[in-house]
């Protein structure tokens, strides 16, 4: 009973502060406030709290506006962001090497002349033309191979008169971008033993892709798009969360579980903090998923990635396991041991907070790819 009273009083205080009371009620409330010190104290205190909440809300909204604007302007090419190129890159590299060179020069006590030549000698050189040629050739070869294989598949399809897509999808899955330069995460079992890997975006464009990291035990793999036609995607709308999700937290996913190239949305909630047989790497979620959903991102309502869908162990209807998102960080740390991947960076700020679901999905879908394997 006491609690019910408290709830009623707080409700009245909130309506009073927000100016939602009718004049009679307001007058009555103000009289009560004058005679009751406790109520007066509550009004003062709650006003302060609501003010702070409002300002906090506006601050969050403004941050998400900033992120939106950044993504929009970068996509329209109105600001030159996200990738260092041209002059900016030269300045950046110059500044980096300048310091190294200065230290070296002071140690050796070299003259200005040798200093210059030193800078020259450690400045990055363009890769030899033959190397570039070779790489190109290799890419073309891969492309030709893929084309050849496509042709063969088509032949087979024509002969046995069943859709060739079935063959692709049996081993396909989903992946999502973690760095706009073309890095994706998916499940290890999706790309395990693959000869060729390609990814396809929601508009149906294919890109040739390489597996750069694989951890079968944790069932996580990192792919890199290596295709001349791929343009870097700019700032990613979602963040990758380091924390695990909460029990009963609403979640959603996007993936390619069907045979028709269409991206599919699913929603559910986190149902257990650990995975199959108490496995602490993963968690259990309640969501409709198919095999092609393997590798799909699991997002919470703030647009943070909290897990990677791993449908491998799914036996019961609707029960699915997800690998916790912090393992993306771990995988990346491993990957970075190879110095050529030093600049891969995860997004820690989500620009999806506060948006309604259709808007969130619209922004995320460009960053979720179908993974095709043969």
């Amino acid at each position: 009973m006491k609690e019910n009273n408290d709830i009623m009083i707080l409700d009245a205080v909130e309506r009073y502060i927000r100016g939602e009371m009718n004049p009679d009620e307001r007058l009555y409330f103000e009289n009560l406030r004058k005679t009751n010190g406790e109520l007066d104290q509550l009004v003062v205190e709650h006003t302060l709290f609501l003010q702070q909440m409002n300002r906090f809300g506006e601050w969050k909204k403004f941050q998400s506006t900033l992120n939106d604007v950044h993504i929009d302007l970068a996509q329209q090419g109105k600001i030159n962001a996200d990738k260092l190129k041209g002059k900016a890159r030269v300045a950046y590299l110059w500044n980096r090497y300048k310091r190294v060179a200065a230290i070296a020069a002071s140690i050796a006590g070299l003259t200005a002349l040798t200093f210059t030549s030193l800078v020259w000698s450690i400045s990055p050189k363009p890769p030899a033309a033959s190397e570039v040629e070779q790489l190109k050739k290799e890419v073309i070869n891969i492309k030709n191979n893929a084309r050849q294989q496509d042709k063969e598949l088509k032949n087979v399809k024509d002969k046995i008169n069943t859709p060739a897509k079935d063959i692709v999808y049996k081993t396909g899955g989903t992946g999502f971008i973690i760095d706009g330069k073309g890095y994706l995460v998916t499940n290890a079992h999706v790309v395990e033993n693959a000869k060729n890997v390609a990814v396809q975006n929601s508009k149906g464009t294919d890109y040739i892709t390489k597996v750069v990291y694989i951890d079968k035990q944790r069932d996580i793999a990192i792919l890199k798009i290596e295709d001349d036609n791929f343009k870097p995607l700019g700032t990613i709308p979602y963040a990758v969360s380091k924390n695990s999700a909460d029990l009963a937290e609403p979640i959603f996913t996007l993936g390619y579980p069907r045979n028709d190239n269409d991206i599919v949305y699913g929603q559910g909630y986190l149902s257990a903090k650990s995975g199959f047989n108490g496995d602490t790497l993963s968690c259990q979620i309640e969501i409709a998923a198919n095999r092609g959903n393997s590798g799909s991102p699991i997002l919470n309502s703030n647009g943070e990635i909290v897990g990677i869908l791993s449908a491998r162990e799914a036996e019961a209807e609707g029960v699915v396991f997800a690998l916790q998102a912090k393992h993306i960080y771990n995988a990346l740390t491993e990957l970075k041991k190879d110095t050529s991947f030093q600049r891969v960076k995860l997004s820690t700020k989500s620009s999806l907070t506060g948006l309604d679901r259709p808007q969130q999905v619209k922004k995320v879908e460009d960053y979720v790819f179908m993974v095709k394997v043969n």
Binding site: L50, N80, L84, N95, E249
Partner: protein, 193 residues
């Protein structure tokens, strides 16, 4: 329209979180700040961070109505970004000198201090809400930040009626207020205006 009026309208738009105004200011200033950061040991990501923080300082300034039109938006953003980046460099002890162009910059030290203090308050609130866990977090965010009414909330969270949702919201709110006022009394805000 004269340029001074133009800036005034931009600032009013900024204070309302009007996307068009934000976009205009963003577009006109981003590359200057990006070059400042990149020419001084920063990356493109650093540039984005610093620029957005400067935008928040400007936003707070515009909302408080104390922005002096004697100083242009451009000058202000440059001064704040420069100061913020210097601070960051000093913290990383990468650099101890001067950067960029010091001509015509305006004093922003107080604004940055104010911003840092406010930022700490908001971070605290963010953490407090995060720590409440579900369903409290989503419930309170829906009511106080997204300003949904109790009927909508009851529907989307699967409560049988608005009264049940209200009871749950009340319990969550009490927990949050407790955390909030503990921090509050511990003095972050003793020196508030």
């Amino acid at each position: 329209m004269n340029p001074e009026n133009n800036e005034k309208i931009l600032l009013q738009g900024l204070a309302r979180n009007d996307k068009k105004a934000v976009e205009t200011i963003y577009r006109e200033n981003y590359s200057t700040i990006q070059s400042l950061i990149i020419n001084n040991n920063g990356t493109a990501d650093d540039a984005k961070d610093i620029f957005q923080e400067a935008m928040i300082v400007l936003y707070e300034k515009a909302r408080s109505g104390t922005f002096e039109l004697s100083c242009q938006i451009r000058t202000y953003i440059y001064s704040v970004s420069r100061r913020l980046w210097l601070k960051r460099l000093q913290q990383a002890s990468r650099y101890n000198g001067d950067i960029g162009n010091a001509d015509g910059i305006v004093p922003v030290e107080e604004d940055i201090e104010e911003h840092t203090r406010r930022d700490a308050e908001f971070e605290m609130m963010e953490k407090a809400i995060q720590n409440l866990g579900e369903p409290c977090k989503s419930l309170l965010e829906a009511f106080y930040l997204q300003k949904k009414n109790m009927q909508e909330i009851a529907l989307s969270f699967g409560y049988t009626n608005a009264e049940n949702a209200k009871t749950q919201k009340y319990k969550c709110l009490m927990r949050l207020k407790k955390i909030f006022f503990t921090h509050y009394k511990n003095g972050i805000s003793d020196e508030r205006e």
